[in-house]
Assembly symmetry: C2
Homo-oligomer: 238 residues x 2
């Protein structure tokens, strides 16, 4: 049986941007927490600045310059880095801790809960995200994500797109790469998975960084390109 004919058993999901709208959720949480303290800034710009530190923070770990740390830890470091830009200083540790947990309170894109529920009937589902386990649990409880297990960076102790993260997820499910499909709204994530033999499913999130700024279509070859998870479920016969 060729790899193309091997049935897919498991779907692995990118989470930030693909399943949840981090931008409007972080802006909302920041406004709530800082607003109560009398601060007023452009909360969407604040969310973008915080997210802007995301890849550089992980790159320290991927490159081996820093040991692995949970994304919660990196988020906190990144937060402290951007606060001065927004003149948000002298905050209590409690406020910073609460704000850091904004990433645990992100809302799903509207199609996601029903789409995952359909896909769950046919496939094993797991997040393969750079987020840590407790963050994934909070998002799952908030948004009814029906995960079979939480895989990803914390289990592999490295960050995507390092190959070990995808391969650790396949191994945890006793699957060969071709029995697994990575689903993401980011072509670089899918390209890294495809290189290892995983199948790939792209889901459009054209508004991830604001209207018209996300990927409306993949920029790399993929097995499936879907409008959203409902469309992906249609295409996968789920």
């Amino acid at each position: 049986m060729s790899a193309r004919q091997t049935p897919v058993k498991a779907l692995f999901f990118d989470v930030f941007g693909t399943l949840v709208d981090w931008r409007s959720s972080v802006a909302r949480e920041a406004e709530k927490i800082f607003g109560a303290l009398g601060h007023k800034v452009d909360w969407t710009a604040f969310a973008d600045a915080w997210r802007g530190e995301y890849q550089p923070g992980m790159e320290e770990v991927r490159s081996g310059r820093q040991p692995f740390a949970k994304l919660d830890v990196l988020h906190r470091r990144n937060l402290e880095r951007i606060l001065p830009q927004f003149h948000l200083q002298g905050l209590s540790d409690e406020t910073l801790r609460d704000l850091n947990l904004a990433w645990h309170r992100l809302n799903a894109w509207p199609d996601v809960p029903a789409g995952l529920s359909r896909l769950s009937q046919k496939f094993w589902l797991a997040p393969v995200s750079n987020g840590n386990i407790s963050l994934m649990v909070d998002l799952a409880r908030r948004n009814n994500f029906p995960w079979d297990a939480i895989l990803g960076a914390e289990v592999a102790r490295d960050f995507k797109p390092k190959p070990g993260v995808y391969l650790a997820a396949c191994a945890a499910f006793d699957c060969k790469p071709e029995q697994c499909m990575m689903v993401a709204a980011h072509s670089n994530d899918l390209a890294a998975a495809a290189k290892l033999g995983l199948r790939t499913g792209h889901t459009a999130r054209p508004d991830e960084y604001g209207p018209g700024t996300g990927e409306g279509a993949p920029t790399v070859p993929v097995d499936f390109a879907a409008k959203d998870l409902s469309d992906l479920a249609d295409k996968l016969g789920a």
Copy 2:
């Protein structure tokens, strides 16, 4: 706040014997697979013999004499060790593989699905079992276990009652040990968890190895001793 007053956030569950009736399930699966091939043995004795190799197999890993391997791998080794005792030889690899997966097809004790569902409303739930992730997923799908994550031996890469297995589970959930409760029908599992500061809940499984052979009550001090998971949910106010 003393440890006794810290609210419990997460419940960790032993699985074999505590949540699922491995003995009658393995006997049933062995009878189905071997029976179709014309073999006839005492299938309950077969299940007991297979389970009898469980602790010695894990002890090789705990002691450092063997590297960590998933329980599926140990189960297969243990199976090949006991087959000659039952004059079950010359079986195909496919048959042995199917039989080994009997451990993925165990049935829950009757109180478990409803009990976990109640407990899930109030606590984060995870198996902290010596079984591997894929085995836990198969049992969860078969029996509707509402896990938030799959923790335990495969994540910690060692077997209970080694301390690292319990502590890795607490760390994955960002919890201090006193925020976690280990639930098991086996006093040695609870004693190991208590030593690390976890709370403990015993659930009676008096028939685990046949009528009257299991633990009807804990033999060590525990925080809660319950008749079953429904009783535990009552006691924890879930």
